[in-house]
C-alpha cells in the first residue's frame, strides 16, 4: 500500500500548475510584509507592558484573558478541532491509509495556531499584571505559560474528539474556566486584589517555574493527543469536515446566512424534544410564539447572552473606567499611566464602548428572530399560515425587544455599579432603546442575500465590495439611527438625562412603527 506522502505528492503533481520558486518567493514576501506590519504595534505593546500595573484593573484584565482562552478552546471544539479539507475527508479518511499520517497536516496547523494564540494570551496576561522588573524573563515566562496553556488545551480538545471520557469533561472544564473568570473579575476589585498584586510582584523565578511546569504538562498532553489521533472515529471527523466545508462554501459565496441554518438544523437534529401544547393566543402572537419556545429550549444560549452583559463593564474596568474618559481624574499618584489608554481621547473610549453596547444589544435581540429569518429565506410556511405580515412583525418584535432591552439594561446597570458611569439612573435608557433594537434585529433577520452585482470600490486599503458591506450594515443602520439619544447620553453624560430618555422612547417607537408599517409593501418572493 502506498503512503499518505506519496498520495499527496501524486495529487499535487496533477494540480493545475506545479509549485515553483515564485510561489516560495511570494510566500516569503507575504510573511515579511506581515512581520513588518506587526512589528510596530508589537514594539508599542512591549513598551506598554514595562510598568507597574494598576491593582484595581488587574481582576478585570485577568478575567478577560481567561475568557479569551476559554472562548478560544470553545471555538476549537465547535470546529472540531481536527478537521480535514472536504476532498481529503472523502478520499483519504475512509481508506486503508494510516489515519495519523492523514491527520498530520491538520494537527500541525492546530499546534501552530495554538502556539500563536498562546503567545498573544501570555503577552495579554503580562500587560494586565505589569512588569516591575526583569522584563525579558517575565515576558518569556508569560509567553511560555500562554503557549503551554493554549497547546495543552488544544491537545485536550483533540483527546475529547477521540475519547468519550475526555469529551464528557471538556465542556464543563471550559464552563468552569469561564465561571472562574467571573469570580476573578468580582473578587479582583475586592478580596482578591491582594492576591493578584502578590502574583504580579512575585519574583520572576517563580513565574519561570510555573511556566516550565505548565510546559511539561502540555508536552504530555500533546504527546497523548498525537497518539490518540488514530482513534478519532471517522464519523466525528466527517461531521467536523462537513462543517468546515459548509463554512468554506459560505465564505466563498460570501453568504454567511447559509452557515447559520446548517448549524441551527444540526443542533435540532441531535436533540430529543417533547411536544408541549401550543398556547391559545391571537393568530399573530401564536405564530410569534415559535421564537419564545425555541429560545426556551436553548437555555445555554440565554446563559451566554446574560454573561456577555458583563463584558462592557469588564472592558471599561480594564481600561480604567473608559466611560469616564472625557471627565476622568488623573491617574493615581505613584502609578505609571498606561500608554495608549490614558493617553487616548475620552471620546474614543466612550465611542468604542457605545459601539460595543449597540452591537451587543443587536446580537442579543437577534437571538429571538429565527422565525423572521426562516420566513425570509423560505416563505412557504408564512403563506400557509396566511397571517397579516404587519401584525406578525409587530408580534415578533416583542421577544427581540425584550432580549435587547434587558441586555442593555444589565450592561448600563453593570457600568453604573462598577463606577464606569457616574451614579445615576442610566438603565431606563436601555429599556427605551428596546424598540429600536427589535426593529434592527428584525431588519437584519429579513435582509436579502448579498447582492454581488453591486460595484466593488478600490480604496487605499484594498477593494471594497459594496454588496457585502451593505448586507453587513442592514439592521445595524436602524439600530444606530434609533439609538442616537442613548449614544448622545453616554457621550455627553448630562446631569439630567430625562430629555434624552424621552427622545429615546419616541425615536425607538417611531423606528419600530415605521418598520412595521413598511412591511405591507414588501414583496416576499420577488421574481
Amino acid at each position: 500500500m502506498r503512503s499518505v506522502a506519496e498520495i499527496r505528492g501524486f495529487v499535487r503533481s496533477r494540480s493545475r500548475r506545479p509549485r515553483n520558486w515564485t510561489d516560495l518567493y511570494s510566500t516569503g514576501l507575504g510573511l515579511a510584509v506581515v512581520a513588518a506590519m506587526l512589528s510596530q504595534p508589537a514594539f508599542t505593546l512591549l513598551a506598554a507592558i514595562t510598568r507597574q500595573a494598576d491593582p484595581s484593573r488587574m481582576g478585570a484584565g485577568v478575567a478577560l484573558v481567561m475568557l479569551a482562552g476559554a472562548g478560544f478552546l470553545a471555538a476549537a471544539r465547535a470546529i472540531g478541532p481536527v478537521t480535514l479539507p472536504p476532498a481529503d475527508a472523502v478520499w483519504l479518511l475512509i481508506s486503508p491509509l494510516d489515519r495519523r499520517a492523514v491527520l498530520r497536516g491538520p494537527s500541525g496547523v492546530l499546534l501552530a495556531v495554538s502556539a500563536v494564540a498562546g503567545m498573544v494570551l501570555g503577552v495579554g496576561l503580562l500587560a494586565v499584571l505589569g512588569t516591575p522588573d526583569h522584563t525579558g524573563v517575565r515576558l518569556a515566562a508569560a509567553m511560555l505559560l500562554g503557549v503551554a496553556t493554549a497547546t495543552g488545551g488544544m491537545a485536550a480538545a483533540v483527546l475529547a474528539q477521540a475519547s468519550q471520557t475526555w469529551n464528557t469533561w471538556a465542556g464543563p472544564a471550559i464552563a468552569v474556566t469561564a465561571a472562574l473568570a467571573v469570580a476573578v473579575a468580582l473578587l479582583g476589585s475586592g478580596a482578591g486584589r491582594r492576591l493578584l498584586t502578590a502574583a504580579a510582584s512575585a519574583p520572576p523565578a517563580a513565574g519561570a517555574v510555573l511556566a516550565a511546569t505548565a510546559a511539561a504538562l502540555a508536552g504530555l498532553l500533546v504527546r497523548r493527543a498525537w497518539r490518540a489521533l488514530e482513534r478519532i472515529p471517522a464519523r466525528t471527523l466527517l461531521d467536523a469536515s462537513a462543517g468546515r466545508g459548509r463554512a468554506a462554501g459560505a465564505a466563498v459565496a460570501v453568504e454567511p446566512g447559509s452557515l447559520t441554518w446548517s448549524a441551527e438544523d444540526a443542533h435540532w437534529r441531535g436533540r430529543a424534544l417533547r411536544s408541549r401544547r401550543w398556547p391559545a393566543l391571537p393568530a399573530p402572537m401564536a405564530l410569534a410564539w415559535q421564537d419564545w419556545r425555541r429560545l426556551g429550549r436553548r437555555p445555554g444560549r440565554l446563559a451566554v447572552l446574560s454573561a456577555t452583559a458583563a463584558l462592557p463593564a469588564l472592558v471599561a474596568r480594564t481600561g480604567g473606567g473608559v466611560l469616564e474618559g472625557m471627565t476622568a481624574p488623573a491617574a493615581a499618584p505613584g502609578l505609571d499611566a498606561v500608554p495608549g489608554l490614558d493617553a487616548a481621547p475620552g471620546l474614543l473610549g466612550v465611542s468604542l464602548t457605545v459601539g460595543l453596547m449597540l452591537v451587543g444589544g443587536l446580537a442579543a435581540a437577534a437571538a429571538g428572530t429565527s422565525g423572521a429569518r426562516r420566513d425570509g429565506d423560505n416563505p412557504a410556511l408564512a403563506r400557509l399560515l396566511g397571517v397579516d405580515p404587519r401584525r406578525v412583525l409587530a408580534a415578533r418584535a416583542l421577544l427581540p425587544g425584550l432580549l435587547g432591552g434587558a441586555w442593555l439594561v444589565a450592561v448600563l446597570a453593570g457600568l453604573t455599579v462598577t463606577g464606569a458611569l457616574p451614579a445615576g439612573p442610566w438603565w431606563p435608557l436601555g429599556a427605551a432603546a428596546a424598540p429600536a433594537l427589535a426593529a434592527g434585529a428584525l431588519r437584519m433577520a429579513r435582509r436579502r442575500p448579498v447582492d454581488h452585482a453591486m460595484p466593488v470600490i478600490d480604496t487605499p486599503m484594498g477593494a471594497m465590495p459594496t454588496g457585502v458591506i451593505a448586507w453587513a450594515l442592514t439592521g445595524a443602520d436602524l439600530v444606530v439611527l434609533g439609538c442616537l439619544p442613548l449614544a448622545a447620553a453616554l457621550l455627553f453624560q448630562p446631569a439630567a438625562p430625562g430629555g434624552l430618555l424621552a427622545a429615546q422612547v419616541l425615536l425607538g417607537t417611531a423606528v419600530l412603527s415605521i418598520s412595521v408599517l413598511r412591511e405591507g409593501r414588501r414583496r416576499r418572493d420577488p421574481l
Binding site: E264, D265, A266, H267, W268, R269, G270, R271, A272, L273, R274, S275, R276, R277, W278, P279, A280, L281, A283, A286, L287, W289, Q290, R293, R294, L295, R297, R298, S370, G371, R374, N378, P379, A380, L381, R383, L384, L385, G386, V387, D388, P389, R523, R524, D525, L527
Partner: protein, 213 residues
C-alpha cells in the same frame, strides 16, 4: 363543468428569453382535481406559480376564486400552496407545527392527532423536522396544508420523496378534499397518483395545455 374556480386564458411566460408557456388555457371547476403533467422544463411549476400569484404572466388572464391571484394574506387564507422544498421553524416538533397551524386558522379540517395518524407521523410527533427523512418532511408539509381550511390546493410535485403506499393514501386524501368542495391543481410526474386521485389530466407540451382525460 361546475362553477369555475380557476380560469387561465392565453397565459404566456418567457424565462430568460425562452418561451415556456405560449397561450395556456386551463379551467378548473368547483370540487375538481386537475393533474398537470409533462416532461421536465415544460412549465408545470411556472404555471402553478402564476396561479399562486407568485409570477406575473407576460400575457393572458388568470382568475382564482373570481379575482386575480395575489401574494397577500387574504388570498392565502383561501388558497394553500405546497411547492419547492418543505419548510419548518427551528426548535419546534412535528406536533407543534401542526398545533401552530391549528392555532392560527379557525375551523381546522381535522384535529392534530387525526392529522398525525392520517399522514403517518404519529411515531415522529416529538421529532424536530431536521431529524425526519425527506419523505416524512414532505408528509409534514402536506399534513399542515390539509389540516388548515382552504378552498383551493396548489401542489407542485406532492409525490416528492413519498413511498408508493403513501402516494395511494395521498390520492384518497385529495379525493376526500375535492368531495368536500375543494379544488386541487397539482403538477405531477406520477401517472399513478393522478389516476388514483381520479383527476382530469392536462398535459403541457410546446408551451400549450391539452386535456387528455
Amino acid at each position: 363543468m361546475s362553477e369555475a374556480i380557476i380560469v387561465a386564458r392565453g397565459v404566456e411566460v418567457t424565462l430568460g428569453g425562452n418561451p415556456v408557456l405560449q397561450g395556456v388555457d386551463v379551467e378548473v371547476g368547483h370540487g375538481e382535481i386537475v393533474a398537470v403533467t409533462g416532461p421536465n422544463g415544460v412549465g408545470k411549476s411556472t404555471l402553478l406559480r402564476c396561479l399562486a400569484g407568485l409570477r406575473t404572466a407576460d400575457a393572458g388572464e388568470i382568475a382564482v376564486l373570481g379575482g386575480p391571484p395575489r401574494d397577500e394574506p387574504a388570498f392565502w387564507r383561501d388558497v394553500a400552496l405546497v411547492a419547492d422544498e418543505p419548510a419548518w421553524y427551528p426548535g419546534l416538533t412535528v406536533r407543534e407545527h401542526l398545533e401552530l397551524m391549528a392555532a392560527v386558522h379557525t375551523g381546522s379540517r381535522m384535529d392534530v392527532g387525526e392529522a398525525l395518524e392520517s399522514f403517518g407521523l404519529a411515531s415522529r410527533a416529538d421529532a424536530a423536522p431536521p431529524a425526519l427523512s425527506t419523505g416524512q418532511r414532505q408528509r409534514l408539509m402536506l399534513a399542515m396544508t390539509l389540516l388548515r381550511p382552504s378552498r383551493v390546493l396548489l401542489l407542485d410535485e406532492p409525490e416528492r420523496g413519498l413511498d408508493a403506499e403513501f402516494r395511494r393514501l395521498l390520492a384518497s386524501i385529495l379525493t376526500d378534499y375535492a368531495a368536500q368542495g375543494g379544488t386541487v391543481v397539482m403538477a405531477t410526474h406520477d401517472p399513478g397518483l393522478a389516476e388514483a386521485a381520479r383527476s382530469r389530466r392536462v398535459a403541457l407540451a410546446d408551451g400549450r395545455a391539452e386535456s387528455t382525460v
